[in-house]
C-alpha cells in the first residue's frame, strides 16, 4: 500500500498510524506528488490530530524526544522521499529504543542525520543572510520586511532568533517559495499565507542605506586575495537574489 497525505507533519504521523493499525506502507507520498505513476495501490489518509498525537507520544516515550525532533526537522527538508525515510527511521527506532541515534554508521540513521544537517545548515545560513528593508504599515508605522526562498521550510526555525533579537521592531519574513509569511510584533508572532506577488514599497531613504552597505561590501574585499569559488562555496548563487549586495559586483577603480 502507498499512502498519500496532505503534506503536513501531522498528516505524515497519521500515515505511520495507518501503517501500524491498517496496512503496512511501502511508501508515503504528499498529495502534490500523488499524480506520479506507481505500482502499489494508493490510499489517501485523512489527517486526524488524535491519531497524530498518539504517534508523536509513542515516538517520545518509546524512543526519545530528540528522535521526534529529528523527524520533524528531517520532514522540513522537503527532500523527495523523506516520508519513507522517516517511516523507516521511526520503526527502526521502535526496535532499537532510545539508543537508535547512536548508530551513526547505519544507513537509515545516517539518512536522518544528513537531512537534519541540511536543515540546520540552511537555517544557520538564513540567520545571517536574511536582509530586512524598511516599509510602513497603513498607519505609517515602520516595519522591517524581508523575503526569502530557502530550500527547506525553515521559517518557524529562524523565528525564535529574530524574535529574541528584535524586541522593539515589528518585522515580517516572507517565504516567497511557499507563499507564507511570519508576522511579528511585541514579542509574539503568527504565520499566514502571503502571495509571492506581494512586494511592498520601501521607505524613500531605504535606498541610501542599501547603497552604504553595497559600498562597504565591495570595499571590504582584498583585491590580492580575490577568490570567487570560495565565495560561492559559502554563499551559493541561488540565495543572491534575496540579498541587498551583489556578490559579483566589482569595486569601482581607485
Amino acid at each position: 500500500m502507498e499512502y498519500v497525505y496532505d503534506g503536513t507533519f501531522d498528516g505524515l504521523l497519521c500515515c505511520l498510524y495507518a501503517h501500524v493499525y491498517e496496512e503496512a506502507a511501502q511508501a508515503i507520498l504528499p498529495e502534490a506528488d500523488a499524480g506520479q505513476l506507481g505500482l502499489a495501490p494508493r490510499r489517501k489518509v485523512t489527517t486526524r490530530s488524535r491519531e497524530a498525537d498518539r504517534v508523536a507520544d509513542a515516538i517520545e516515550k518509546k524512543i526519545s524526544r530528540n528522535c521526534l525532533r529529528r523527524c520533524y526537522r528531517a520532514f522540513l527538508s522537503g527532500e523527495p522521499g523523506v516520508e519513507t525515510d522517516i517511516l523507516a527511521y521511526v520503526f527502526y527506532g521502535f526496535s532499537k529504543g532510545k539508543d537508535v541515534d547512536l548508530l551513526h554508521g547505519d544507513p537509515i540513521v545516517r539518512r536522518i542525520d544528513v537531512l537534519n544537517h541540511k536543515v540546520g545548515r540552511e537555517t544557520e545560513r538564513m540567520l545571517g543572510m536574511i536582509r530586512f528593508g524598511l516599509i510602513r504599515d497603513p498607519e505609517g508605522q515602520p516595519i522591517l520586511y524581508a523575503h526569502i526562498a530557502p530550500d527547506c521550510d525553515l521559517l518557524q526555525l529562524v523565528m525564535p532568533h529574530f524574535l529574541n533579537r528584535y524586541r522593539r521592531e515589528p518585522f515580517v519574513i516572507h517565504d516567497i517559495k511557499r507563499e507564507k509569511a511570519a508576522f511579528s510584533t511585541d514579542g509574539r508572532w503568527v504565520m499566514q499565507t502571503l502571495s509571492r506577488d506581494f512586494s511592498p514599497e520601501y521607505t524613500p531613504d531605504e535606498e541610501a542605506c542599501r547603497a552604504l552597505w553595497r559600498r562597504y561590501f565591495t570595499n571590504a574585499a582584498i583585491q590580492e586575495r580575490i577568490n570567487p569559488r570560495c565565495q560561492k562555496n559559502f554563499m551559493p548563487r541561488r540565495y543572491w537574489q534575496h540579498l541587498v549586495e551583489n556578490p559579483e559586483e566589482k569595486r569601482a577603480p581607485i
Binding site: 539508543d99 541515534d101 547512536l102 548508530l103 551513526h104 554508521g105 547505519d106 544507513p107 545516517r110 544557520e124 540567520l127 545571517g128 543572510m129 536574511i130 536582509r131 530586512f132 528593508g133 524598511l134 515602520p142 522591517l144 524581508a146 532568533h161 529574541n164 533579537r165 528584535y166 524586541r167 522593539r168 521592531e169 531613504d205 541610501a208 542605506c209 547603497a211 552604504l212 552597505w213 559600498r215 562597504y216 561590501f217 565591495t218 570595499n219 571590504a220 574585499a221 582584498i222 583585491q223 590580492e224 586575495r225 580575490i226 577568490n227 570567487p228 569559488r229 570560495c230 565565495q231 562555496n233 559559502f234 554563499m235 540579498l243 541587498v244 549586495e245 556578490p247 559579483e248 566589482k250
Partner: protein
C-alpha cells in the same frame, strides 16, 4: 526614538559614504571578523543579541566572511609602521568618523540584519588615549543611548592607559591588541614607535580582569591544552573564598558561573593577530609565540594575516610579490590542531622541521613522522588517540565513541560516519584488519599526495599562485 537617528544619518549620507569607503579600505587587512564567544539574550525595549557560535552575514569576493562592520575610527596616524597601509608617510586620503555617525551606521546596518555588530579599530590620531576615548564614546552611544545589545569587538591601540582599557572592556564583547610582528627585533625594525610593553601591558591587564571575575576561558575545546581551569572555591564564613586544592570547575559549571556575572569584562575574551611573511620568522617561531600567548594570556584565538606587499620599503618583500596564502592556511591548520585536537606546538614543528610542509597538512605530516603511533584500532582507541588520525575530526570521534557504546564499527560504518577514508585508511585497523598500505611504507607520502591531487586546496582558487617563488 525608533528611527530618529536614522534620519540624521541619511541627511548626510554622502559624507558618510565617503568616510565609509576610506575607512573600510583602511581596516580590511585586519583578518579577524568573528562574532563568536558569547551568548546574550535580547532584552525588552532594546535591540540585539549575541550568538555563542557567531553568525556570518555575507562573504566578500575574496571568500572571507563579513560578520561585523569592520572599519577604522580614523586613518589619521602619527605612527609610521613600515608594513601598514595607513602609516603616516603613505599617500592616502585621511578621514575620521564621529562617534555618533559610527553608532548610527551600526544601528542601521544591524537592524537590517546586514551585520552582527561592530568591529572598531583605529590609526593613532594624536595619542593612543585620545583615539581610544573617541572609540569608547561610540561604544557608549551604542550601548547606553541606543540600547544596542549586538556584538562589539574593540581593538586596543598599543599604549592605551589601563583606565581606558577597563572602560572599553566593559562595553565590548571582545577586545584585542595586535602583536603584528612575531619578534621584538621585527617590531623595532618595522614599527619603531610601538613598544613591546605597550602591547603586552594591556594584554596582561585584560587577562587579569577576566580572571578576577572568574570568567577566563581560554582557547579551544575540552581536548585543548589551552583551556583555563577555574579552581573550585568553597565558601568559608561570610564572603571569603578559598581554593579547594587541585579541584576545578567543569566547562559547564564554568560557563554557568561566568554567565551570572554582571558588568562582565570582555565576555567573549581576547584575541590577537600576527602578520605572516613580512619578516623572516619561521613557522616554529610563530607557533611557539602562539603557544605562549594561549598559555600566558589565555587568548581565545591568535589570527594569522598573510602579508600583502602594498608598500615600497627596502625592509619588506617587494610590492606585487606573492602573498603567502598557503602558508597562512597551513598555520591555521596547525592552530586548529592545537586548539581542538590536543596537539602542542612542539609536536607540529621542531628544530628539525622549523617550517610546516606546504604540500601536506600538518596532521598528515605529523602522522608520517610518527609511524610508531599507528595503526590505531578504531574499536579500542580513546578519544585523544582517535583525534590524531588524519581524516578523522572532532565530529567523527564523537560519532565513533557513541556508536561503540552499542556496537563495534565496521569499515563501511566509517564512511557513513563521515571519516575521510582516503586519508584515514592507512592509519587505522578495524577489528584488527588493516585496509591500506602500511604506514612504514616509504611510498605513503606519494600516495597521499597523489590522492589529494597534489595539494589539498579546494578552497583556494586554482588561479592563485600558491608557493611564494
Amino acid at each position: 526614538m525608533f528611527f530618529s537617528a536614522y534620519n540624521e544619518l541619511m541627511k548626510n549620507a554622502e559624507a558618510v559614504m565617503e568616510k565609509l569607503k576610506i575607512l573600510t579600505d583602511a581596516a580590511k587587512y585586519d583578518v579577524s571578523c568573528s562574532s563568536s564567544g558569547h551568548e546574550r539574550r535580547g532584552k525588552k525595549g532594546q535591540l540585539g543579541s549575541a550568538s555563542k557560535a557567531g553568525i556570518c552575514h555575507s562573504w566578500t569576493a575574496d571568500g572571507r566572511c563579513i560578520s561585523l562592520l569592520k572599519v577604522l575610527y580614523s586613518n589619521r596616524c602619527v605612527y609610521d609602521c613600515e608594513y601598514c597601509v595607513n602609516r603616516r608617510s603613505a599617500q592616502v586620503e585621511r578621514t575620521s568618523f564621529t562617534p555618533q555617525e559610527l553608532a548610527d551606521l551600526t544601528m542601521e546596518f544591524y537592524r537590517r540584519n546586514y551585520i552582527e555588530g561592530l568591529f572598531l579599530s583605529s590609526a593613532v590620531d594624536g595619542t593612543p588615549d585620545r583615539t581610544g576615548e573617541e572609540m569608547c564614546r561610540a561604544f557608549q552611544i551604542l550601548r547606553e543611548e541606543q540600547g544596542f545589545l549586538g556584538y562589539i569587538h574593540a581593538k586596543i591601540i598599543p599604549g592605551t592607559s589601563p583606565e581606558l582599557v577597563d572602560r572599553i572592556g566593559r562595553l565590548a564583547d571582545r577586545v584585542s591588541v595586535n602583536i603584528e610582528l612575531p619578534s621584538s627585533e621585527g617590531l623595532e625594525k618595522l614599527a619603531p614607535q610601538k613598544k613591546p610593553e605597550g602591547i603586552l601591558g594591556p594584554m596582561d591587564q585584560i587577562t587579569r580582569s577576566m580572571a578576577e571575575q572568574r570568567a577566563l576561558v581560554g582557547a579551544g575545546n575540552r581536548y585543548s591544552h589551552y583551556r583555563y581551569r577555574v579552581p573550585l572555591l568553597e565558601e568559608e564564613g561570610g564572603s571569603t573564598y578559598v581554593a579547594s586544592a587541585g579541584k576545578y570547575l567543569t566547562d559547564r559549571q564554568q560557563d554557568a558561573l561566568a554567565h551570572q556575572k554582571k558588568d562582565r569584562f570582555a565576555p567573549a575574551g581576547q584575541t590577537t593577530q600576527l602578520i605572516i611573511g613580512a619578516t623572516e620568522d619561521s613557522d616554529l617561531k610563530i607557533l611557539a609565540l602562539s603557544h605562549s600567548l594561549y598559555r600566558k594570556f589565555y587568548m581565545r584565538r591568535v589570527y594569522f594575516s598573510a602579508y600583502i606587499p602594498l608598500n615600497d620599503s627596502p625592509l619588506l618583500p617587494a610590492r606585487g610579490s606573492n602573498v603567502p596564502l598557503l602558508r597562512e592556511h597551513r598555520l591555521y591548520q596547525a592552530d586548529w590542531l592545537m586548539r581542538f585536537y590536543g596537539f602542542t606546538a612542539d609536536e607540529i614543528v621542531d628544530n628539525g622541521h622549523p617550517n610546516l610542509d606546504l604540500e601536506l597538512d600538518p596532521k598528515v605530516s605529523w602522522a608520517l613522522r610518527h609511524p610508531e603511533c599507528f595503526p590505531v584500532e578504531i574499536n579500542k582507541a580513546g578519544a585523544e588517540e582517535l583525534l590524531r588520525i588524519p581524516g578523522i575530526g572532532n565530529t567523527s570521534v564523537v560519532r565513533i565513541l557513541r556508536q561503540r557504546k552499542l556496537a563495534p564499527l565496521r569499515y563501511d560504518d566509517l564512511k557513513n560516519i563521515g571519516v575521510v577514508l582516503k586519508r584515514a585508511k592507512y592509519f587505522i585497523t578495524i577489528g584488527g584488519k588493516h585496509y591500506g598500505t602500511a604506514v612504514k611504507d616509504t611510498m605513503l607520502r606519494e600516495h597521499l599526495l597523489m590522492q589529494s591531487g597534489g595539494l589539498q586546496l579546494s578552497f583556494l582558487d586554482p588561479k592563485t599562485k600558491l608557493l611564494g617563488e
